[in-house]
Symmetry: C2
Subunit: 334 residues, 2 copies
C-alpha cells in the first residue's frame, strides 16, 4: 500500500491547536502511520513543543513531497505568517485569525494539486477570523469556497456513531422553518455517496430522526414528520438511497449504536445528533466535511481559549481525525 | 429494617403489563425483596402466567396486609373488572382501559391509607383510557388528581442518570413558548426537595440544560438562555437550590454521566433528556412521579401492543422500577 501524505493545519495560534499537535507527535505510532507534516508557524509550534516535551523537535519542510517521518519530530511547513508578538495564547486576535486562514488555503492548494492525500485541521476561531476581516463561520465554508463545492455537509463521527445534521448553529425555534423535504433528500443522497466512496460501505443504510418527540405521534404534536421529513426520505429512496424513518429520536440512537441497525444517522438539529455522539465519545469525536473533492477531517472541538497554554487539552480527537482521514484516503484510492 | 409492601398495578390487559409482571416473579430474588402483590385481574394474569412459565402460580390476596411472599408465586388482588372476552391482546379497548384505571385508583387508595409503601405501575394506554371515556393523558395526571397534588413532575432515571423534563409531549416548535423562568424555578425546587427526601442526597446539585445549541452562543442563536432559563436558575439558587447552568446540552450529559458533575439534570424538552437516558439504559429506565404524597414508579416504556402476547417484552425496566420504589420508600421512612 502506498504511504499516505497528510497535512495538519495548525489552526489558531492562540488556541489549543499547537499543543494538541505537539502531543500527537509524542505518540508512539504516529510516525508509522503516514508522512505527516504541519502547515503553520514556527513561533507557536516551538512554544507548544517546549511546553509539551523535551523529546520533541521541529524540522522544517522544504519540499512537501519529501516531508518524511521520524519519531517525535514535527515536520513544519513554516508559512511565516506570525511573529512572536503577533498573538496571545488564550485571546482571539486578528493576526492569528488571518494566519489560520493562510494555513488552510495552503493545505487546500496542496490537496487540490494532489501533493497531499488529506487535510486534518486543528481548530480555528470564528471571532479571530472576523477580526481579520474574514467573515466565514468556520472551516467548512472556506473549504467549500476554495474547492468550488456547492453540495456539502458536516458529518460528526466516532467508532460508535456517524451523524449528519440537517441544521446546525441555529436556535431551536428556527429549526422547523429551516427543514425542507428537498434539503433532506439532498443530504441523504450526499450521505449515501460519501458512505460508499469515503467509508467503503457497499450498501449504506441511513436512519433519519424525527423532529418531534415520539415522531409527533401521528401529528398529535407536530406535523413536520408527515409534511417534510417523510417526503424527503421517500424521494431519496426513489433515487436508490437506503434511508428509513423518521424515527423517534429517543430510541433510534440505541438501535443504531447498540444494535447496528443502520450505518449512519441524519439528525434534524445540532443537539439531537451531538448529545449521543459526545456522550459516547467525548474526547474522540471527529468532524468530516462530506462532498468535497479533497479529504478533510478535524477534531470536533474548538480553540478552547480558556485552557489554551495550560497543557490540559487532549489530542484524542485530533488523533482520531488523522486516522479517519487515512481511512477515507484509502477508500478513495480504491 | 421493616419489610416493605409494594403493589404493582397490572396496567392495560391488552398490553405487555401482565407478561412483564409474570417475568418479574420468575426472578430469583423478587420474593426476598419485599411483600409484593399485583392489583389486576385474574384472566389476563392467568394467561400471562401460562405463556411465561410452568413454575409460576397465582394466589389470591384476601387481605393486603397479609399478602406474603413465596418464590414464583404471584399474589393477586383480583379486582374482577375484566372477563375473558372483555379484551384482546394487542388492541386498545374501552374495558381494559377502564379496568386499568380501577387498578390504579385502588392502589392510590391503599397507598394514601398507608397499607402499602409504594406503587409500581405497569403500562396503561392513553387511547384505551379515552375509549373508556377517561380523558387523562397518562398515569401522572391520574395520580396527581386523586392525591390532590398540584406541583408534580416526571423524572426518568437509571443507574447512570436522573433527568426531569421541563416540557414533555409537545412539538419542538412549541417548546420555546412553553418555557418560563417561574416554571423552571418551580421544577428545580421540586427536584431539590425530592432528591433529598426520596433519594437521600443531602446536598443535591442540578445541571440545567440550555435550549439552543452552544447555549445560544451569547444570544447569537436564541435568547431563551438569557431571558428565561438563567433567571429561573437564579431564583432557585436564591431559594437555596444548588442549580447550575444553562449548559450546552451536547456536553453536559458527558459531564454528569461520566464525571459525576451533578446529581440530576433538568432538560428543556423530551428528546433532550431521553436521548441520553435511553442510549445508556434502554431496557432499564424508570419513570418516577416527583411531588406526590405517595411513592409511584414505573417502567419507562408503554403498552407496546405490537409485541404484547409474544413474550418479547423484557421486565428489566419493571424490575428497576421496583427497586427504585424500594429505595424511595426506605429514604422516606428515615
Amino acid at each position: 500500500m502506498k504511504r499516505q501524505r497528510i497535512a495538519i493545519t495548525m489552526g489558531d495560534a492562540s488556541g489549543v491547536g499547537p499543543e494538541i499537535i505537539a502531543k500527537l507527535f509524542l505518540r508512539e505510532d504516529v510516525d508509522s502511520l503516514a508522512d505527516i507534516f504541519v502547515i503553520g508557524d514556527l513561533f507557536p509550534m516551538l512554544s507548544a513543543q517546549r511546553r509539551t516535551s523535551k523529546k520533541l523537535s521541529i524540522k522544517p519542510v522544504e519540499d512537501v513531497k519529501k516531508s518524511g517521518h521520524e519519531k517525535n519530530v514535527i515536520p513544519l511547513l513554516d508559512m511565516k505568517a506570525l511573529h512572536m508578538d503577533d498573538y496571545t495564547v488564550g485571546e482571539a486576535g486578528a493576526r492569528a485569525g488571518k494566519a489560520s486562514f493562510i494555513y488552510l488555503k495552503k493545505a487546500i492548494e496542496l490537496a487540490l494539486s494532489g501533493k497531499i492525500d488529506a487535510i486534518v485541521t486543528a481548530p480555528i476561531n470564528k471571532h479571530a477570523l472576523h477580526m481579520a476581516g474574514l467573515s466565514y463561520p468556520g472551516h467548512t465554508e472556506i473549504l467549500a469556497k476554495f474547492t468550488g463545492t456547492k453540495n456539502y455537509a458536516m458529518m460528526l463521527l466516532s467508532d460508535r456513531l456517524k451523524v449528519v445534521l440537517a441544521t446546525i448553529h441555529t436556535s431551536i425555534k428556527s429549526v422547523p422553518g429551516k427543514l425542507s423535504a428537498a434539503g433532506i433528500t439532498k443530504l441523504l443522497r450526499l450521505m449515501d455517496f460519501s458512505l460508499k466512496r469515503d467509508f467503503g460501505i457497499e450498501k449504506p443504510s441511513i436512519a433519519v430522526c424525527a423532529l418531534n418527540p415520539h415522531a409527533g405521534e401521528n401529528g398529535a404534536f407536530g406535523r413536520e414528520e408527515e409534511d417534510i421529513i417523510a417526503p424527503g426520505i421517500k424521494k431519496a429512496r426513489a433515487a436508490g438511497v437506503r434511508a428509513d424513518g423518521p424515527y423517534p429520536a429517543d430510541t433510534i440512537f440505541d438501535r443504531v449504536v447498540n444494535h447496528s441497525s443502520h450505518d449512519a444517522v441524519l439528525a434534524m438539529y445540532h443537539d439531537q445528533g451531538l448529545i449521543p455522539l459526545k456522550l459516547l465519545s467525548f474526547d474522540t469525536g471527529v468532524n468530516v466535511t462530506l462532498g468535497l473533492p479533497i479529504i478533510r477531517t478535524s477534531p470536533d472541538h474548538g480553540t478552547a481559549y480558556d485552557i489554551a497554554g495550560t497543557g490540559a487539552a487532549k489530542d484524542g480527537s485530533l488523533y482520531e481525525a488523522l486516522k479517519t482521514a487515512m481511512i477515507m484516503a484509502k477508500n478513495r484510492d480504491k
